[in-house]
Amino acid sequence: MKRVYVNEEWCLGCHLCEYNCAFANSGLNDMVKALKGKPIFPRVHIEEDDGITYAVSCRHCKDPLCVKSCIAGAISVVDGTVKIDRNKCVGCLTCVLVCPYGAVAPGPSGAAQKCELCLENSCGAPACVTGCPNNAIVYEER
């Protein structure tokens, strides 16, 4: 299965992935309209430490703790992709409590959200990957 992988060596810490992600999942067709003057809720985030930067997003674990832990049964694995049913989620954040990667976070409505590989939006491929200027985030089979 194709997943998003991070090449720390090439991450520039530019944070473009976060903005591309927030835009891709905004449902709007213009980035300015989608993001200007608003807090953003990207599903990928850049961590920075001592000059090292890297992007973190859902690993789509083979044995995902979030799925097992969700108190609402809102997280499931569909064809290898871990998905959150935002309609079912009540925002208890147990998934945040258990995700060892810190890859789940509450979205604007309080419901949990995380990377779903841009399969549900109109991007075709993960927006963080296509927008990364240095191939620091890739979408491939490993």
Binding site: L12, L16, V32, A136
Partner: protein
């Protein structure tokens, strides 16, 4: 001290309606032009620091940025241009030699653009490169004068060592130090994939790149940095650098600040020491001296590798080339006055040397006249910008061309011409690890391969149009060229007729 006389050259134009304050521009500008002001809630710019490298423009996700030339001008004066006056201010402020990077930007004639290529019509058929074979492979090196046979009458096929290239283009010398590790990695990997060569420049060969040896030309320059037995043996060819188009007659100076870590190891000089390449080779004052070095290098490499002698295109280039052709060198590389550099005194770069087109035509003619053209192959560089320039160079008599600026552009260079600052935002002309990593060689090498493949297609198209199916048949075929808007003297030197003739 800041020079209060000089107004910033560029303006950062930010469309506030589009800016989403993502701060990518701020994070990506090594010159610290952009910053976010939390009180105002907007991005601010310090234009005095902007070099117009376009990194921020390229990465701005909402296309909210553009960098424009400031229209704040001094009073118009046809004699004293703004640039001339500002240079005087700078020197009055610093007392120093002006430094510049990349090639001569002055509006001097570009002869490539005054030369037009022929095509077949009616009486001789063009060739469709998509349907018929088309050879772009070339061999560089000394060619036999005539067919030779042994006592039994069998053909003797042994030749002097040759450099085989899949197309008549090589990446010219750029040292590790002047460009980054990742830029070198990109060039080396692309050259290997393409079946051409790249050139180490005078900075030695990083140990990681020995694997690309069969596609590497190693340079021996006046500083002799990083030259040792393994270095010479690793290469496909050895190049003696006598001069460089951007700064003929002077040496080089890589400041000690850039001689760190791997750069110091690769150059085999202590960290922090200035890497000074003398203007002359201190052991070469004549063609005979040059011949000694040529044969020393051949001896060291067991006569298995061609030796290239690289010189800048200067006034009496034809006579110089004639001497080199008799020195035992296999290939002469000539670098025109538009060739790039990581740093050169501005006055030298902009005023010394001659156009490569004229130098090439003169050298090719001279060597033919003297009957020694087959002694050597000719490689020319110094602003070969496109496949058309390549075809014109071949038709004027070159065996192959050297490209560097075009290769750097493929890697992301935006020709801001401030390589000398060491703060290349594109990760090319820098040794700052934070900046170096901006050039991912996976991307860089692929872009170089793409560029060269595109050129190869175009070369085939242009040749096919002329009814020519190999680079070998095009070489020196000046009948395929016509000049436009050139004087009789220029046409005479170029050895071509005027359009319409």
């Amino acid at each position: 001290m800041r020079d209060h006389f000089i107004y910033p050259e560029f303006e950062v134009v930010r469309n506030e309606n589009r800016c989403i304050q993502c701060r990518v521009c701020e994070r990506q500008c090594a010159n610290e032009v952009h910053r976010f002001d939390p009180d105002l809630g907007i991005m601010l710019s310090d234009e005095t620091k902007c070099v117009n490298c376009q990194r921020c423009v390229s990465l701005c996700p909402t296309r909210a940025l553009k960098i424009v030339k400031s229209d704040c001008r001094l009073r118009e004066n046809a004699n004293w241009s703004d640039e001339t006056i500002k240079e005087i201010y700078k020197q009055a402020n610093s007392g120093g030699v002006l430094l510049s990077s990349m090639g001569n930007p002055k509006p001097l004639p570009v002869y490539w653009d005054r030369i037009l290529i022929n095509a077949s019509q009616v009486t001789n058929p063009p060739i469709d490169p998509l349907r018929e074979p088309m050879e772009t492979k070339v061999f560089l090196g000394k060619k036999p004068e005539k067919i030779r046979r042994d006592a039994q009458g069998n053909l003797i096929t042994e030749t002097a060592p040759q450099l085989e290239l899949s197309m008549p283009v090589m990446f010219s010398a750029m040292s590790y130090g002047s460009i980054s590790y990742n830029a070198h990695a990109s060039l080396a990997r692309a050259a290997t994939e393409l079946g051409i060569c790249y050139n180490t420049g005078e900075g030695g060969l990083h140990e990681d790149f020995y694997v690309y040896g069969p596609n590497t030309v190693v340079q021996v320059a006046s500083g002799r940095f990083g030259v040792h037995k393994n270095y010479l043996e690793a290469a496909a060819a050895v190049e003696i650098k006598m001069g460089q188009g951007a700064k003929p007659g002077i040496g080089g100076h890589l400041p000690g600040a850039k001689i760190v870590g791997d750069v110091s190891r690769t150059r085999m000089i202590p960290e922090g020491s200035d890497a000074i390449s003398p203007a002359p080779h201190h052991d070469i004052y004549s063609i005979e001296d040059l011949r000694q070095l040529v044969f020393s290098l051949k001896e060291a490499t067991e006569y298995k590798k061609p030796v290239i002698v690289k010189v800048a295109a200067v006034h009496n280039i034809a006579a110089i080339a004639s001497g080199i052709a008799r020195s035992g060198a296999d290939i002469i590389a000539i670098d025109g006055f538009r060739g790039g550099t990581g740093a050169a005194p501005t006055r030298i770069r902009d005023n010394v040397g001659i156009p490569i087109e004229l130098a090439l035509a003169a050298v090719d003619q001279r060597l033919r006249d003297e009957g020694i053209r087959n002694n050597v192959s000719l490689v020319v560089g110094g602003s070969v910008r496109s496949a058309a320039d390549v075809v014109k160079a071949i038709a004027l008599g070159a065996d192959a061309v050297y490209v560097a600026t075009a290769a750097l552009l493929a890697l992301g260079c935006h020709l801001c011409r401030t390589c000398q600052s060491g703060k290349c935002n594109w990760g090319i002309a820098t040794q700052d690890p934070e900046l170096v990593k901006r050039l991912n060689p996976d991307i860089g090498s692929q872009r170089l391969v793409n560029l060269m493949n595109a050129w190869r297609h175009e070369i085939k198209e242009l040749m096919g149009g002329m009814g020519i199916n190999s680079v070998e048949s095009l070489r020196g075929n000046r009948l395929m060229l016509r000049g436009v808007g050139l004087t009789a003297k220029e046409l005479e030197i170029l050895g071509i007729s005027h359009a319409g003739e």
